[in-house]
Symmetry: C2
Subunit: 659 residues, 2 copies
């Protein structure tokens, strides 16, 4: 995952053991060597086998050219991988393709009946879109450098190639500026990246074939700038770093030349730190209250024929574009920056819908889709998976226009995540978006995606992200000093809600701890999905799936008992008290499930009254509580619906109880 | 944990929230400030609450003096901690005591009904022994610097104060020598600490009040020296780094002055790297084959009146002691170095028994106990807990002699651990030894220890060690691409065997991967201990513990079903195939347990024949398989034995089934 453009399965398998070694055949350089060495380390971690290397190379890598010095939009990322029972051969025109192919190779390693192996196959692979990004907001909650580094490894693993780094917002300015040090001194609470750290991240990303596009969000979302330099503002100030979430008024003054002088000097410094040709200037959600109540600004507008705040914003963007051009940079912005006056070459990032991307393309602008890819909504992977940058409004574009749709970006806004929880909010779901952006448009089967996602989720932990291994420790913390099998059972049965639901659930701010079940729980419960699959198998032919039936029955029995066992902990712990109704509902769900199994075992369809009543009850229990949803309801509902139909395995009047 | 010398519980509790802050009152320095800052970070991690600090200090720290520049044997580590519902006051003569007290404070934080809190109490605390060590072998399997650093944090958490760093052995020489670079170049496979890393570790330890005692094991266990400098050997060589485990012949030549010149220069370099006053020279398990077959050595012995290899070894140690003295260092060695000719001031580390420690004390030598503290045997915490440095042979020492018993050291030899598994082999069991060495001799109740150990085990993860969070990922790796609830159930039900059993189980060497269930499984199963407790509660009064009975029944049912569900995975995976008999036995154990529960529910004692037969079967199933033991047998045996007695709750003829 992402599924390669073309895969042809072969016969047999290639053994992977301590004698694994890599040989370069053709072009080689430090970048390729380092990647090969990382691959060897990764394979050691994946297998637990210390690789001591053998005489005969297991993997030969054949490259013809270097990657560009820093990764570049549209560079050649294609590769071919040929695996036979004797050897593996990876060939690529350029080093970047070889990097992509090495990730594919690593992902193919599994334990078999006799050894670890990779299956024999032939792969021809290349990306569908050139821009496959992940936007990380480090302003709302601070993310230290190691968080960024490990997520770059995970991005590389699923062939994402752009880190869009949202480095400033109302709640924090996260970069050390040597020209304007008050930005970090007064705008960051001390939480910012030094220039050395920035260089390290950019180099680390570059080694992995990942571009880094910095975003400095202006003229709105700019409170942290103004906390440091209030003289740039449209209102007199003073300003303080914002602690709440939302859209706020502090806005740069787009009418004054000294503001542009400041921005020119600032972006000059930025241009030296970030080698990528693009700089993102945000431009979203600009409130014009300060502009409208500032007489000088209004006068400026009148004098210059700017008839609205929208036009004033467009003026600002044009100036900014010139100013970035001077430093050799192209401008990128959220879809609000789209206006007729922009020069070509601007990239529009669409977050409000697919229409704006299509509009931009018609006007000749490159576009990157983020609408539908907001991971912080904590929607299911399947939801994001069906969003296609060339779908929806973009379907009607002609070929030349469609070619301007350059790709997409998963977005992770940080109001409701911390460095402890970001990994589990990104992974594995971001891999589904990565597949959408890399793989052929025809790869759309959600069941297949979920099957592979479960595998990739485990594999991703070898890259260093901790979305799986941090789960139990977070539950341990919630439980305090007690053992937690029952809390784990509850956590496995729920799914966390995202930004839309949380922002109305209570008054959040940067001071509110994110240390509750909703923060530990996963956006999608893998366990519940597995149980759903079990239920489906059972319903398809009850008499043939006795162990599955027994497994389900045990699980429902556990749910049924769980509330009684968990009660003492819930009562005595302020972090868990809110879970009491949820826990009670899990047990009720278990009871309904047990009853449904009894009907199924008896071979007689369940009475319609009972079915109607229980479905009603299940629906009620599916309403969110404590900012999580009881996902356990889903497989039980499927079971209840299944036994209400006089079909499938129970049609014959025989249940599975007659063992 | 360790239990303080004196604790008096008070009334009420002190709230811990985002307003937590620390004030220094009295002496303060960079070391204390850094520790306070680490405490704040730790509390953030423990609670998930970003600490923004309030106006009123919650914890006041009052120190009177600095710690010694580098930690020193016998320095003042005492502290007092006073917690009231309003404030906490930590006082200590010296900074080191304050460090110890801060760990106690951190450990007291738990979630309560309304908030996180620490209970009101008064603690007067000081260590029973001055030398509380942990020996880490980094020669047999390489342990990178981050492994050492995180374990230093965990050591500090349980008040261990000596890292005994076993830096050379037959299988590797792990320190960069600038004088003799071939040591690392030819003796380490590239896996060694640079001098910068050594300095970092020593400084990191020092910040936490932990001494670092380096060990260079000579004249035996010296193959890696000789791979680099064969001319130091007692046989002509050539030598290669040893790949097997055991005791090997290559030995330094103790008769040649050029060897001492080399060692003098080498230990001069070591003395500059390690500020502690002690250097450990190993001295254990010296095979004399090479000495006996070397004519020049034999001639030297005759000329110098050395009548045996033991006397030659003693000659070597005396020379070494002088040579260390020149560099201002005191010598430490394993108990084989004990001989009449040593000067006072040597520290004897006893590994072969407590007798040698008593003997050494009678001769006026300081002693440190390690016999009984070998964590790599993977024995239960309770086993180590009952070993007392002043117990056994030391009981008969007089006061002055007993005062020479300076403490103890847990030992972790690395034949059967890797950087992936070391944490789970150290923690939480090392905490039980830490308590033995710190707490009063009267603190000996194993049940109390286990209750607290479960809590401390969770708390230790906040220090950075990964003994709990790495468990599931290791099981995931074993299972490959599949979900693993059944593998988890099996892993939870077994306990891993240690060195004694593994070295006879198969031919191990440094090339054999440690990636099987035995490596993932825990030395002691917390889950089985909990189930044992449940069974005991149930047996004490069956009619009063219906949820417990139901919980046990569900668990046994799971075990019963587990083998059938796990079978497809076991069959298809070479790493898991060996578990087939074990998995079958878990299911049989579950079945026996279910039957026992039925007897218990019926209120009629189980027939003696049945009891005898099942006990026999359980015993057979307790024999180790695949280098693990089926711990699940224990609670089931307790249940079978419990229901065979016409006593306890079932005496009245009423079971618990009549709900």
């Amino acid at each position: 995952m992402p599924m390669p453009a073309e895969v042809r399965l072969g016969e047999g398998k290639l053994l992977i053991d301590a004698s694994f070694s890599i040989r370069m055949n053709g072009y080689s350089d430090q970048k390729l060597q380092a990647a090969a060495s990382r691959l060897t380390t990764r394979i050691s971690r994946q297998t637990g086998i210390p690789i001591t290397g053998g005489d005969r190379p297991v993997l030969t890598i054949e490259c013809r050219a270097a990657a560009p010095e820093t990764p570049r939009l549209g560079e050649d990322e294609s590769y071919q991988l040929d695996i036979t029972p004797k050897t593996a051969h990876l060939s690529a025109h350029a080093v970047t393709g070889a990097l992509r192919g090495m990730e594919t190779f690593s992902q193919l390693i599994v334990p078999g009946a006799d050894s670890f192996f990779v299956p024999a196959l032939h792969i021809e692979d290349r990306p569908r879109f050139a821009w496959r990004g992940l936007m990380l907001d480090v302003a709302r909650h601070w993310m230290p450098t190691p968080v960024i580094l490990r997520n770059l490894d995970a991005m590389a693993a699923v062939k994402l190639n752009v880190l869009h780094w949202h480095l400033s917002d109302d709640q924090g300015f996260r970069v050390e500026s040597q020209r304007f040090p008050k930005l970090q001194e007064l705008g960051s609470d001390g939480n910012y990246y030094t220039q050395a750290e920035i260089r390290r991240v950019v180099a680390y990303a570059g080694e992995r074939g990942i571009r880094v596009v910095p975003e400095f969000d202006i003229p709105g979302h700019a409170t942290s700038w103004l906390a440091a330099y209030p003289e740039l503002g449209s209102a007199p100030g003073p300003f303080r770093i914002e602690r709440k979430w939302g859209i706020f008024e502090p806005t740069l003054d787009p009418t004054r030349e000294d503001v542009y002088a400041f921005l020119g000097a600032f972006f000059g410094e930025v241009a030296g730190l970030f080698p990528d040709e693009y700089v993102h200037i945000g431009g979203d959600e600009v409130l014009d209250n300060e502009w409208r109540s500032n007489a000088a600004i209004q006068q400026f507008c009148r004098r210059n024929g700017l008839r609205s705040s929208v036009e004033l914003h467009a003026y600002f963007n044009r100036k900014l574009q010139k100013l970035l051009e001077k430093h050799g940079k192209k401008m990128m912005g959220w879809d609000e920056v789209l206006s007729p006056a922009l020069e070509p070459g601007v990239v529009i990032q669409s977050w409000r819908g697919q229409q704006s991307l299509a509009d931009a393309a018609r006007k000749g602008y490159r576009g990157v889709l983020s609408f539908g890819y907001y991971l912080n909504y904590l929607k299911p992977a399947a939801f994001h998976y069906q969003v296609d940058p060339l779908g929806d409004a973009a379907k009607e574009l002609d070929g030349a226009q469609a070619a301007l749709i350059t790709g997409g970006e998963a977005c992770m806004w940080a109001e409701y995540i911390t460095e402890e929880t970001i990994d589990s909010r990104l992974w594995p779901r971001a891999a589904a978006i990565a597949e959408r952006l890399w793989s052929p448009a025809t790869v759309t089967d959600a069941d297949s995606m979920y099957n592979r996602l479960g595998i990739v989720s485990r594999w991703l932990e070898y890259t260093g992200v901790r979305h799986r291994s941090d789960y139990q420790p977070l539950l341990d913390r919630l439980a305090g000093t007690r053992a937690t099998p029952e809390l784990l059972a509850l956590a496995d049965a729920v799914e966390a809600l995202g930004l839309n639901e949380r922002q109305v659930a209570r008054h959040y701010s940067s001071f509110v701890p994110l240390n509750r079940l909703v923060d530990a729980a996963r956006p999608e419960s893998e366990r519940i999905r597995e149980i759903g699959n079990l239920v489906n198998r059972l319903l398809a032919d009850p008499s043939q799936h006795r162990p599955e039936a027994e497994e389900i029955r045990l699980l429902f029995s556990q749910w049924s008992l769980n509330n009684e066992l968990l009660q003492p902990l819930l009562e005595s712990n302020f972090l868990l008290k809110e879970l009491e109704p949820l826990s009670a509902n899990l047990s009720r769900t278990g009871n309904i499930g047990l009853q449904a199994l009894q009907y199924l075992a008896s071979g007689v369809p369940a009475p319609p009254d009972w079915v109607a009543k229980e479905k009603q009850e299940l629906s009620e229990m599916e309403e969110s509580k404590a900012e999580v949803v009881l996902a356990a309801v889903r497989p039980v509902r499927a079971l209840v619906e299944g036994i209400s139909k006089p079909s499938a395995g129970i049609a014959g009047g025989r249940g599975f109880a007659d063992k």
